[in-house]
Amino acid sequence: MQPTQAIDWSYAPAPETFPVELQPEHGLFIGGAFVAPRSRKHFATIDPANEKPLSRIAEAGKSDVDAAVKAAQKAFKGWSRLRPAVRAGYLFRIARRIQERARELAVLESMDNGKPIKETRDVDLPLVAQHFFHHAGWCDKLAHAVPGVEPRPLGVCAQVIPWNFPLLMAAWKIAPALACGNTVVLKPAETTPLTALRLAEILQEVDLPPGVVNIVTGAGETGRLLVEHPNVQKVAFTGSTEVGKRIARSCAGTDKRLTLELGGKSPNIIFADAPMDQAIEGIVNGIWFNQGQVCCAGSRLLVEESVVDEVIGRLTHRMRSLRVGHPLDKNTDVGAINSRAQLERVNSFIACGVREGADRIVCFDGALPDTGYWIAPTLFRGVQPAHTIAREEIFGPVLTVLTFRTPDEAIARANDTNYGLSAGVWTSRASKAYEVAAGVKAGVVWLNTFNQFDATSPFGGFKESGFGREGGRAGLAAYLA
């Protein structure tokens, strides 16, 4: 017999090597062409996995935003009057071209955002293509979508999107707007502009009429100039509740239509009779998908008291096998945090959790890279409902665990928040699952699953998680008069 040898279970690196060309500098996409910013200002977008600059991005100032809105206004008449089947043709071709360039876009997204290539490749990009394909088909069916009124487009849509799903959020905003006959000025987040600008290339490739979609890059000030522009008829924003409230205030004196998709502190409820293997995977997916930088993340774990030790035992075991590492490694489960600012914000919440007396559990025992922004998956036990980490949106890989005894208490605790974006319910009893689903105030409820998205399925929140839906028929209402 051979002497037993210690087996090395560690993975060899499996880098995604698809080559992506990066231009050193990007202009603004206005009137169908890339143009230098009149502001003459640029800023760098960096790779959060190594803090190195990827490209220089134009910072749109007032006259740039004016030019973009003007281009969208000019394009509106032609686009809105285009025969619906022709409009659909453009959207179908966009979807196809995205599928063809999916690998390039996935790699670029992982570079700019820090999320694992596994996710950009298998989640973000398929959903992006589906969103355009689904909405393409709506163009000639709008009269069936909103019964009782003649479907009319609104005009120029100002759309401001976040950095956590950069291209997916662009698709969620642009596809329904165009399908309904509107024109768009989109502002991507300042830390993740690259995939939206690559999408602009695709729009050129499919000969989308100039001005139908315009992309202005920049930070908060560019976004403010855009949503406050007097010649936009519709404002759509995805981001923090704080900024959403500011936008709501700025639109108050106008006739602009507004939809807001904001923050969350979503409950993930585990009953004692849950299918436990799936539930553990659901908890992991709920909070560590995209490093927890997900507005609908299942960041508040509510566990039936009788199984809390079992759940935490299994969960910590599972946490040990989560691979934190380079976003472009195909084995990576948890990538880089998007920016230094976000890293500091999440770390300050972690410090606050410790300070307020909760027990911090970190199971990752590897070494985090020296450069880049990293946080190992983190769990807090012994959390009280009044703790800051149980109330405020952390937007990072940090899970708080609370307990309950009865379904009523689970519902009450689930609803003990100003937010209402999503909820998860894990139980083998269908009647209990539906009772809890009916009781929670949340726009999306996942029963025995979590973090599922689809172009046909409306997404959006109750309460301070915003208003309006994206996806499905409900999503179209936001873009029709």
């Binding site: 009782g148 409230k245 029963l447 699953t449």
Partner: protein
């Protein structure tokens, strides 16, 4: 025989309290001086509290039951047909014919929404054919507590056009009556009291819009606002969305509330929430 003139009061939690402030508004109607309640911010808060308490049970009642209750409300309006016509004309100069038309449209409106209670979820809900092994569907729910602001232009029909969709899906409502022509809403409160609409589900206040609008806009326990307003009231109400993400729908007070749009699914837009439920189709 001496005539007895009616004391008009507020309608909160199914009861008719006077305003806690003791203040009144003078309204001259048909040569008679009426003293209406000038509701205070505290009255508004009380009404919101009543609405919040009544809402869950109303939303949990079956759509069939809500339909029957709204139909019963229409019956109560029918019984007060002439009183409503007088109420509309009491403080305005509309012709009897026009007042009669508004009352008839109002009754028809309530009947229409009695019929919507068990249909709107059919029309706005969906099964979503997602690209994966999941059974996914979207239903609609009441938003919660709704503040409504009635127009002067059609004080009865306008009020009902704003209130009926909210009630039909299970919201509870705090209605602020038309400022210039509040009496039709007060007659409505009597119809509500004798219908089977549970106390607190629909509350009615009379008073100064300039005083009540800012409170309604900023009240953190109001989830949605449907208002006939313009100018600074419209802006104040919309800014209220920034307080707690209220869903705010503002329409021009001169809107034609007999338009088919007001009886269409669109009328439910600002007072319903879409809830999407996913479950694995194979587990």
């Amino acid at each position: 025989m001496a005539t007895v003139t009616k004391t008009w009061k507020l309608f909160i939690g199914g009861a008719f309290p006077r305003t806690e402030s003791g203040r009144t508004i003078k309204a001259v109607a048909g040569g008679t001086v009426h003293h209406l309640c000038k509701a205070s911010r505290k009255d508004l808060r009380d009404a919101v509290e009543s609405a919040r308490a009544a809402q869950p049970k109303w939303a949990a009642s079956t759509a069939y039951l809500r339909g029957q209750i709204l139909y019963r409300l229409a019956e109560m309006l029918e019984a007060r047909r002439s009183e409503f016509i007088d109420a509309i004309r009491a403080t305005s100069r509309v012709t009897p014919r026009k007042a009669k038309a508004e009352v008839e449209a109002s009754i028809e409106h309530v009947v229409s929404f009695a019929g919507w209670t068990d249909k709107i979820a059919i029309v706005l809900g969906s099964q979503n054919p997602v690209a994966g092994p999941f059974y996914t569907f979207t239903g609609i729910e009441a938003t919660g507590v709704v503040g409504a602001l009635a127009p002067d232009e059609s004080p009865l029909l306008g009020a009902l056009a704003l209130v009926c969709p909210a009630l039909a899906v299970g919201n509870a409502v705090v209605l602020v009556a038309s400022e210039r022509h509040p009496i039709p809403a007060l007659v409505l409160s009597e119809a509500l009291a004798t219908s089977d609409v549970p106390g607190g589900v629909c509350n009615i206040l009379t008073g100064d819009h300039a005083e009540l609008v800012p409170s309604m806009a900023t009240h953190r326990d109001i989830d949605a606002i449907v208002a006939a307003a313009k100018g600074k009231h419209a802006a104040a109400l919309k800014a209220g969305a920034a307080e707690n993400m209220k869903r705010v729908t503002v329409v021009d007070p001169a809107t034609d509330f007999t338009d088919a749009r007001w009886r269409s699914p669109t009328a439910f837009r600002g007072v319903t929430e879409a809830k999407t439920i996913w479950m694995p189709s194979m587990a």
